[in-house]
Each structure stands twice: as structure tokens, then as C-alpha cells.
């Protein structure tokens, strides 16, 4: 694991000094993070990186996971989809079971933190403990909240409004709540296995491992096998391009332990790609970060054709590697890409195919987009900016005024 000082060559001494100062002002209060999965998915990934760095700075930040059964995760998956605006059948019994597990966990957990930092909807109802123990409570939403099904948002809001702060990843997720809402974009870690520089021979080895031809252009989408990532739409766009340009497609991703739908999608995607040897469907086990890094670095163009997106960290990862990215204008993606300046924003399969052809045919233009994208990520979406925002968020719980002298 990198130490905080290892980031100085990337972001500068000033930035790291500021983090030390903020940590000092925060004092010895304890922050207790709680979420529902320790591996897979963006939330666990970012906590795994951030907590050691916060500790290295001197902050007492800890992490607990609530474990649910399959039935609980099937329900939370439905809640997740309903928040994304998908019509799902979520019964009253489902919500009762959801609350039952929350209540069970609420009684099991030792709430030792001065700040209880709850991530995503799965443990949202743990807030019922606030009446008994007080303390400061933050709810961090990592999901696209733009057009949620109204019944599910009403259900969740009755809990969210009990927190001291709600945190969202993009401005469009803001709602009319009774509590302050903070905007904190997620981030990537430039020193993680997924983003660090890789020697050419490591990249070549990964390409060989998956039988990918190094000599022809490669289009890649890295994401969980999930309908909301639109892998079938990616194959359709690729097929339109393939008629004119000899290129290959990689659809690669893993699955989170709270995502039981994934296998079903993977099967459908494999069927759609069955008769084309240039389409590589790669299901990656956890801890495949080097493989993902290598696939992104080997790509000519990276896609993120999601129908809904929380933030879309894979976009930041590809841009950090100075890759030209074509992505849907959903969730937090427009925060990362300024259209035709630091990438391409699209709204359809046809649009994706059109821009794919353009970038494959105009490598100089594609290169410029990638370079601008990397600079934008460096300034705004690296883990050090995220740590600073979290420290400010923690401090904000103790200062109400708009201008605070620390």
C-alpha cells in the first residue's frame, strides 16, 4: 500500500501539507464507515484505498461491513435498480425484510464512532440508532439518483432526512431534503494496481492471455455485467464499426457479491457475441486490477456506454491513462468529460458508432482528447482531492457558518 508521501511527486507538497493540517484540525475523533460489501464494486474499492491513507495522515478512520443473506441482497439490488429509474417489482414484504435485516444489524453493531458514515441504501435504516446514541451521521449515496421511482425515494427519504448530511456524487442527484447535501465526486488512485504505470511486457502478456491481437485497434469497455452498463448496446455499436474498420472489442468486468443479476447478463452477452472471434467477453475474478489496467492501456478507444451510472470511475481510469473515451452523458460522466475537449459524450448506439469510427480514423485528434482528459483527472479526480473533501465534510459537521477560520 502506498504511503501519503508517495503522492507528493504527483500532486505536490502543498496538497499533502494541507491534508496534514486538516487532519490535525479534525483531532482524534473516530470516523466509522459502514457498508454492505468488502469486495467488488466501486464503494469497497475506494474505502480500501482511502482508509489506509487517512490513517497515515493521523486520522482515526475505521470500516465495518454488514453482512446480509441472498434474499436481502436480491431486495437491495431491486432498490438499486428502482433508484436508477428501472421499473421493478418491490413488494411491501420486500421492504419489511429489508428493514428487518437493518434492525437486526443495528442491534449487533457496536457504534463506536464519533461520526457514523453510512454508504449506499443497504444500511440506510441504521440511522434509527441516532435517537438512542446521538453522534454525527452521514449518508453517502454512490448511486445515480436522477430519476428514481417515486415510491422508493419516498421510502428512503424518511431515513435520509434523519442524517446530519447527505453526500452525492453529481449535482443532478440533489433532492429537496431537510438536511444539507454535499457534493463529493469519487476518485481514482494513481498508485493502485489498476492505475499505476505498467511495463510493456506486462501489457503484452495480458493481451496474449486473452488472445487479443496487438496489431489491430482495440475497443474496450470495462464494467460489471449489468444491463445498466448496456453491454449489448456496445456490441451493436461495435458491429456497425466493424463493417468499415478491422478492429476488436473487449467487454471485461467482474461482479460484486451484492449483484446476483450479473451471471444472467453475462450469459446474454456471450450469446450476442457468439459468432464473432474478435469480440472478447472476459469475466474477471476479484483482484484482476493489473489485467484491467493492461486492457485499458492497450486500448485504442475506451467506451463507457452506460444507461445509468453512479459516477463512472472507469471513465476516470481510462482518462488518467490518456486514452480517448466515448461515454454516455449520464450520472457523473459529464463531470469528467467536456464533449470534444476531453472525450466524447454520446446518447445512442448510432452516435457511439459514429464517434468510434472518427476516433479510430483520426488518431491525432483521439490523442489530444486523451491528453486533455488526463490533465482534467489530475486536477479534479485523484484520491488526494477525495481525502481533502472527506476531511472537510467531517469538519463541516462541527461548523455551520459559510466561512470557517480553522
Amino acid at each position: 500500500m502506498p504511503a501519503i508521501k508517495d503522492y507528493i511527486p504527483i500532486v505536490g507538497q502543498d496538497t499533502i501539507d494541507e491534508l496534514y493540517l486538516l487532519t490535525e484540525k479534525f483531532g482524534n475523533r473516530i470516523v466509522q464507515n459502514i457498508n454492505s460489501t468488502s469486495v467488488g464494486g466501486g464503494v469497497a474499492e475506494i474505502l480500501m484505498r482511502m482508509i489506509p491513507l487517512l490513517k497515515d495522515l493521523g486520522a482515526d478512520v475505521r470500516w465495518d461491513v454488514i453482512k446480509g443473506d441472498e434474499k436481502f441482497f436480491n431486495i437491495t439490488k431491486k432498490i438499486h435498480n428502482a433508484l436508477h429509474g428501472v421499473t421493478v417489482e418491490l413488494t411491501e414484504q420486500d421492504l419489511e425484510y429489508f428493514l428487518f435485516i437493518n434492525e437486526l444489524k443495528r442491534k449487533e453493531i457496536n457504534f463506536y464512532g464519533d461520526i457514523i458514515f453510512i454508504h449506499d441504501p443497504q444500511p440506510v435504516a441504521l440511522i434509527n440508532t441516532k435517537n438512542e446514541i446521538g453522534k454525527k451521521w452521514i449518508w453517502r449515496c454512490h448511486i445515480d439518483f436522477t430519476e428514481p421511482q417515486s415510491y422508493i425515494i419516498q421510502f428512503l427519504e424518511s431515513y435520509i432526512n434523519k442524517y446530519d448530511r447527505a453526500v452525492f456524487s453529481a449535482p443532478s442527484f440533489a433532492r429537496k431534503l431537510n438536511i444539507p447535501q454535499v457534493l463529493i465526486s469519487p476518485s481514482i488512485d494513481p498508485l493502485s494496481d489498476k492505475n499505476k504505470e505498467l511495463p510493456d511486457d506486462v501489457i503484452s502478456k495480458v493481451l496474449e492471455q486473452f488472445s487479443i491481437d496487438k496489431s489491430r485497434p482495440l475497443i474496450t469497455q470495462i464494467s460489471r455485467f449489468d444491463y445498466l452498463k448496456d453491454p449489448l448496446g456496445v456490441i451493436k455499436a461495435y458491429n456497425k464499426v466493424k463493417q468499415y474498420i478491422d478492429c476488436q472489442l473487449v467487454l471485461a468486468g467482474g461482479g460484486a457479491t451484492d449483484d446476483p443479476e450479473g451471471m444472467e447478463v453475462l450469459k446474454e452477452v456471450k450469446n450476442a457475441a457468439a459468432d464473432n472471434p474478435d469480440i472478447h467477453i472476459i469475466f474477471l475474478p476479484p483482484a484482476s486490477d493489473i489485467e484491467i489496467n493492461a486492457l485499458q492501456r492497450a486500448s485504442t478507444v475506451v467506451l463507457q456506454k452506460s444507461l445509468k451510472e453512479g459516477f463512472g470511475l472507469t471513465v476516470a481510469e481510462a482518462l488518467w491513462k490518456a486514452k480517448p473515451v466515448i461515454a454516455s452523458a449520464v450520472g457523473g460522466i459529464p463531470l469528467q468529460i467536456t464533449h470534444k475537449y476531453s472525450g466524447i459524450l454520446t446518447y445512442s448506439i448510432d452516435g457511439t458508432a459514429y464517434y468510434l469510427k472518427q476516433l479510430l480514423n483520426e488518431p491525432e485528434y483521439a490523442k489530444k482528447l486523451g491528453e486533455n482528459g488526463r490533465r482534467h483527472i489530475k486536477n479534479n479526480f485523484l484520491i488526494t482531492r477525495h481525502i481533502r473533501d472527506y476531511l472537510l465534510l467531517f469538519l463541516s459537521l462541527f461548523y455551520e457558518e459559510d466561512v470557517v477560520y480553522l
Binding site: 440533489a174 429537496k176 444539507p180 461548523y399 466561512v403 477560520y405 480553522l406
Partner: protein
């Protein structure tokens, strides 16, 4: 005896207000009611984030009016508001209201943006921190100016004057107290809204070297 100049820096936490606009009228109605810190945020965000290299107008209102509502002339009028002319955010708010109101009366625009392109109102909470740098003389000030972070420069030159309702930028006030009136006045004439922060740093140092009495 004038106290040494203590360099500070400011960091910001962004808050979402849950208020959005789909039309110019809605934008105007909300500009009238949002907190002062929201007007400050939307007119200074891009400057603070050093986005001046980006092909975007200098404030969020102008960008949204031009790009989402597609009203180019009003967008340009809002983009070219001379912020350096204003002593506080409330007078800046009044000017924004006047420009947009006049346009609505004259042109009666009826455009509505596409879903997903609404203007989302935000505000910021600013945290001011001391840095390790101090200066006791004009020469020391020049030396430290070469090394401080851009957010620190932003704080003393822009934020302190407009947001904390100080009459001038911090450097001019300190130099004035030090008896360096000529350089204090020349620095106060620099317009930070049409230059990058890095460019401002160079201009500041050059101005001090040119006008300070050594």
C-alpha cells in the same frame, strides 16, 4: 509596527441546494433567493478550479445561458460582467438580476432546456487555513509569492476582497500599511478575472518589483 503578512489558503466544500432551473425565468427567480454563498460559488468556481484554459465562459450562469438555453447574446452579457468593479457579492447579485430581468422584458424568451441540462444551484462552505509562510518585508513578500499555492493566491487576491467584504485585496492593504502606497495602488488595479492564476502570480511579482521603493 506592521505585523508580518501571514499567508493563508482556503479550501471549499460544495453543498447542493436541491434547487434547479429549466428556463431563464426560473434561473432569475432562484438567483433572487439563493444564499450569497451560492452567487459567489457560481461566479467564481471556474476561476478557483483554474479552468481558464478550458473553452468556457467564466461563470456558471453565463455558460448555462449560452450552452443549454442557447441564448448567446445574454450569455455573453453575463460572462462579461466586470466582477472586479463590485465590492461585495450582493451588488454583483443585483447586477445579474438586472441584466437577466431586462432581457426577459425585452425578448420574452420561452426556451426550456432538455431533461438533464437543468441548472443546479450549489453553494460552498469555505475553510480558511494558515500556511507556513510569512513575510516581513516587500522582498520577502516577492519571494513567498513565487512559492505559495494557487489557492492561497486566490484567497488573498480574490476571495478576501469580495467574499469577506474587505475593501481591497490583502496584498494591497498590507503594502499600504507598510507605507508602499504606490505599489499598493498598482496591485489593486490588476484584474484577476481575465487572467489565469499563474499569470496573476507573475504580474503581481513584476508589479511589486517595478513600483516598490527598495
Amino acid at each position: 509596527m506592521v505585523e508580518p503578512f501571514q499567508f493563508k489558503t482556503s479550501l471549499r466544500l460544495i453543498q447542493l441546494l436541491g434547487i434547479k432551473a429549466k428556463t431563464l425565468q426560473e434561473l432569475l427567480d432562484n438567483i433572487k433567493i439563493v444564499p450569497t454563498s451560492s452567487i459567489y460559488y457560481h461566479t467564481h468556481r471556474l476561476l478557483y478550479q483554474q479552468f481558464l484554459l478550458y473553452p468556457e465562459p467564466p461563470n456558471d450562469f453565463a455558460y448555462w445561458i449560452s450552452q443549454s438555453l442557447n441564448i448567446k447574446d445574454l450569455g455573453e452579457a453575463v460572462a462579461s460582467i466586470n466582477i472586479i468593479h463590485f465590492r461585495n457579492i450582493e451588488t454583483l447579485r443585483k447586477q445579474l438580476i438586472k441584466i437577466i430581468s431586462d432581457y426577459i422584458v425585452a425578448e420574452k424568451p420561452n426556451g426550456i432546456v432538455l431533461e438533464g441540462q437543468e441548472f443546479h444551484f450549489m453553494k460552498c462552505q469555505t475553510f480558511i487555513l494558515p500556511t507556513a509562510f510569512k513575510a516581513s518585508s516587500v522582498d520577502e513578500l516577492c519571494e513567498v509569492l513565487k512559492r505559495i499555492s494557487l489557492p492561497s493566491l486566490y484567497f488573498h487576491f480574490i476571495e478576501s476582497r469580495l467574499r469577506l467584504n474587505n475593501s481591497e485585496n490583502d496584498f494591497s492593504r498590507w503594502l499600504f500599511d507598510l507605507g508602499e502606497k504606490k505599489v499598493a495602488i498598482e496591485i489593486a488595479r490588476l484584474d484577476p478575472y481575465t487572467i489565469t492564476l499563474e499569470g496573476l502570480r507573475h504580474k503581481l511579482i513584476a508589479t511589486i518589483k517595478k513600483y516598490a521603493s527598495h
